[in-house]
Symmetry: C2
């Protein structure tokens, strides 16, 4: 076991698209777990689009990462040393902190993972925050009815892939939007969406018209930008727009204009945003629904695993450019369960 | 009793702000009530902002008025001749049709009015579609909680005045936005809003900051344009935007851009539109709540009454320019109840 920690720090706030020089990668002493705390060796670190907001310094629903601090992020790992009665060395757990090899965190912030129930990495993806985001957005805002048409952007991503599969299970016609032929093939053939449209194609509007002959009832928004502009005018009366994220705009230096809201009145649209962190108390409800479906193979997922902490900045930049294919993880340590 | 009808017809579709030449005023034969129908002599004709959409020819939630047709509109009047068992000559009723002196309409589309309950003109205003619009928007979308801040645009108008008074009754801090000092004085001193801001003033944003020290929780949107642009960035987390209308944009030849929707995610906003006509079945519920409050003077209202059918086009154009002060009506015949 190494004696030293290694961390990715925020060196300066990115201007537009982040560059590797916005981050520092440094060695640091091993953290010492305090009373009630646990020392966790990271195995998988999660890279998620929301982190772009956290390093921007803009006031939002959460405190920003400050210059010189470890980049925020969820971790799946293994307990090295425990000062908490519920954990002992060797336990697998979700809930370490940050883009680093080791972290000392309160034991009561951890969730013990059973590798027999599901691969431990899924606690960062389909059974974690991204999967629950898909579930909450559909349950609380989209509420698709059988036979309705649901469009999902970033459909091969960690959230979109789950949202589409859940909407299918609720009887909706599901159309995914993704970048490139490989992702579209995956969305349609592997995940079972009714159609998949390539936003890199020539005319997304025409493709939506063809794939959604009855218009669009629910739009699960992960992307913004040109995709939002193509979907919005095609929403049906009483359409719902689940505002989950707008990754295509996260690096804009000035915000783009949005759609004219006159249609919201005429069509009685609902445009509603949500943050999954507001719903932490429903994690049990979500996991009870989703874990059996993952185990039985009825809910499919795909992971894009990058090796080594030092590759995290580049992988994160790739995520913001749509280069990942599936839930993006960084493996920073040996996974004895695989 | 005159032998002839007189009507305002759509002569051509307005380009931008309507002009008097977009309308024809013509004499016509008296309509003949068919089986089950009633001949209604109009007393008050309603002029409402939504009519701008109906004469634009744009597909919407309702069929447009075609060239050469009578302009749509609600009417309060008196039964002249009845082929329906529930009505007889002399009855007062809500529900004639269109910008004309006489109309023949199905008896089962009429609502009999009791002048002892409330002035019959209120069936077009505070106890009619505009009042119910305010009620539905607050009940179904805004849902202000006690102590929250509610901002209402077009606050002296037929909808805004009711919305503000109802929100006050629900314990909210209510800030109105209106055009000009007279309307603002009325909103604050007569209607009892906590504050009234003049959108013709120099800096609406600064005025909102001063009047809403705790931000804005609910925005009742009747206006759009610069007022919307000032309110939107001041919405609090979990803010609700009741999308009722955007009168400042109804004459735009091309739609203006709207707000960037990134804030909808970050702040978990809800932006939702509605059309009161979808909720006709709740008219009884609304009237049972509102009529006693009107009778007791607890809900105040103001009417802006223009005399004579031939003045309707100019009055309607004035409505779109914000020149009316209170619910705009055209009196086209003698009101024996006043």
């Amino acid at each position: 076991m190494p004696e030293r920690n290694r961390q990715v720090l925020l060196k300066r706030r990115p201007e537009g698209m982040p560059v590797p020089g916005d981050f520092d990668i440094v060695d640091a002493p091993l953290p010492e777990p305090g009373t009630g705390e646990v020392l966790v060796r990271g195995i998988y670190l999660s890279l998620d689009p929301y982190m772009r907001g956290r390093i921007s310094g803009v006031r939002s629903y959460a405190r920003p990462v400050e210059i010189g601090e470890v980049i925020e992020g969820r971790v799946v790992g293994q307990v090295v040393r425990s000062n908490h009665p519920d954990f002992r060395a060797g336990d697998y757990a979700f809930g370490g902190y940050g883009r680093q090899l080791y972290s000392a965190v309160p034991g009561n912030s951890l969730l013990k993972l059973d590798p027999a129930e599901a691969p431990i990495s899924t606690a960062l993806g389909i059974l974690g925050m991204p999967g629950m985001t898909a579930y909450i957005g559909l349950a609380d805002i989209g509420q698709p009815k059988s036979g309705e048409t649901v469009v999902i952007s970033a459909a091969s991503g960690a959230v979109g892939a789950v949202a589409g599969q859940l909407a299918k299970r609720q009887g909706a016609r599901v159309v995914g939007i993704a970048g490139g032929a490989d992702k579209c093939r995956y969305v349609k053939d592997e995940l079972g969406f009714d159609a998949a449209l390539d936003h890199q194609g020539s005319d997304l509007g025409a493709a939506l018209d063809a794939a959604c002959p009855n218009g669009i009832d629910v739009y699960f928004e992960n992307v913004g930008g040109a995709v939002q502009a193509a979907v919005f005018p095609r929403l049906n009366d009483f359409g719902r727009m689940i505002m989950c994220g707008m990754i295509a705009e996260y690096n804009d230096k000035t915000p783009r204009p949005g759609p004219n809201l006159g249609a919201v009145v005429r069509k009685r649209l609902k445009i509603q945003g949500f943050i999954v962190g507001d719903q932490r108390h429903r994690h049990g409800e979500f996991r009870a629904m989703a874990a059996p479906l993952v185990k039985s193979g009825q809910l499919k997922y795909r992971e894009d695993i990058v090796e080594g902490l030092d590759n995290a900045p580049e992988a994160f930049i790739g995520l913001l450019q749509g280069k990942n294919f599936g839930k993006l993880l960084v493996r920073v340590g040996d996974d004895p369960t695989r």
